[in-house]
Amino acid sequence: MSTIWQSLELLVTKGLPTTVLLTLGLLGAGLALGFPIAFLQVYGYRPFRWLCRGYEQLFRGIPALVLILIFHSGLARSFGILLPAFTSALIALGLRSSAYQSQIFRGAIQSVPQGQMMAARALGMSKLQAIRSIILPQALRLSIPPWTNEFSSVLKDTSLASAIGVLELTKQGTLIFTRIQFVKGVNYILVILILVALVYLVLTYMGNAGLALLERRLRIPGFEMKGKVER
């Protein structure tokens, strides 16, 4: 029993911080890239739109693990670019997340009726002004629910970083259960895997609860986007 507690402690103290840091880094990188991409894809000049479309198709079309291996092993072997494992994972999964997030924001932007843009322009606002004070406040609120989805998937994708040796939750779990196999009379590998699963579950739950709170906080009474648009 004490060993189980010890294992949990080890997971939380040595694995969890890296997982959390990587998740935050990925969400941040994805947000920083995905948001401008979405805007360029909707409002940009044609070449920008094509470029963004290509980017988004590319990074949504490659398995996350293959991306990680490209950035960690591929680049190192062919060009001598020696990224630390954590950085490789951050770049690979960050690019992937930015592609997914760009589509979340694009969907949110496009669900704000075009008439509002026209009305803003008719009132003398510039395109940028209209985006900033009309479209953005609505689109951002609309993107929170699908964004929780991306949060959940990004969090669990961080486990793929264990493949290149990032010592996060999953890798720490592997170290624990490989040791247990060599301890006489002890064999509860399932328990360790369930512990790892539980930590992810709790993290996902907490993150989603936080985002739900944000959604409620930012809600504007009377502002609804259901079915037909109010005129």
């Binding site: 010890q6 170290l175 064999n187």
Partner: protein, 278 residues
């Protein structure tokens, strides 16, 4: 005033960093008794403690990183980590990627089976049974050699050695081939398993560094091992780790590591060996 303070701080920093060079040591820490992580996450094992002792003797510091076996030669080869210490047999194929130190350990392959399976070392490797091995190990290479000679055997490769042993316990495969000390450690821990026999392969283990040894580490490592042998510490490390009980070694290590922090290599090895064999 502020500038003066900054200058003092900076000189202090440079002085500290100038004291000891820190080298990253890559190791697949899922392979007792050579390297593993104990219940508190401390990394220990024969290779790692030999490396720690060498570091003390040669006046550098090491930072041990848990690595996956399948990328360890590539990553040390291109310089992502400085030293590889992972129970690695010196082979011509690996020499293409990395440079090895002088041999520090000789190992044979052992075949692990379920005690109730009724197999022996010959039938297990030639009777059409499935043999597990860690990918890109000399054990896997041995079975591949049998396959190439037309022997009736099936090779199943795993990224981690313990996963192969787990599949053996679960009955998904019939045998596991691996270096003798690791196989013995599994057989000691799992009552259902037994070592069917040993194949004398006479493999030499070496520490490894990037091709061409750009940091000039190999002379330090070779000289370090020689010094450890002359001090008697090397034999004590062997006595501490080979054939002893895993949890006992862990307790002994925790009680002895203080010696090493004080720079007492001989005391560390002696204490570790004594406690582990009590």
């Amino acid at each position: 005033m502020k500038k003066a303070l900054l200058a003092v701080l900076l000189t202090g920093l440079f002085a500290v960093s100038g004291l000891a060079q820190v080298y990253d040591v890559a190791s697949d820490t899922t392979w007792p008794p050579f390297e593993w992580a104990d219940a508190e996450g401390n990394l220990l094992g024969f290779d790692l403690d030999v490396m720690r002792c060498i570091a003390v003797l040669q006046g550098f510091e090491i930072n041990i990183i848990s690595y996956d076996w399948d990328i360890i030669f590539d990553d040390v080869g291109i310089g992502r980590a400085d030293i590889g210490a992972s129970g690695a047999t010196i082979t011509d194929e690996r020499e293409l990627k990395v440079d090895f130190s002088a041999p520090y350990w000789t190992s044979d392959q052992a075949v692990l089976i379920r005690a109730d399976s009724g197999l022996n070392i010959v039938t297990a490797l030639s009777g059409g049974y499935t043999v597990g091995a860690q990918i890109e190990t000399t054990g896997a290479g041995f079975v591949q050699g049998l396959l190439d000679d037309g022997v009736d055997v099936i090779l199943q490769e795993y990224t981690l050695y313990p996963l192969a042993v787990l599949d053996l316990i679960n009955g998904n495969i019939d045998a596991v081939i691996q270096d003798e000390p690791a196989s013995q450690a599994s057989a000691t821990a799992e009552a259902d398993l037994t070592v069917a026999g040993v194949i004398k392969t006479n493999e030499n283990f070496g520490f490894f560094v990037a091709e061409g040894d750009p940091e000039g580490l190999l002379p330090l490592l070779n000289d370090g091992v020689d010094q450890l042998k002359a001090l008697g510490a090397y034999d004590n490390l062997v006595r501490a780790y080979m054939g002893t009980d895993l949890t006992k070694v862990e307790a002994a290590w925790k009680a002895s590591i203080g010696f090493l922090e004080e720079g007492d290599v001989v005391g560390f090895a002696l204490n570790l060996a004594t406690l582990a064999n009590q």
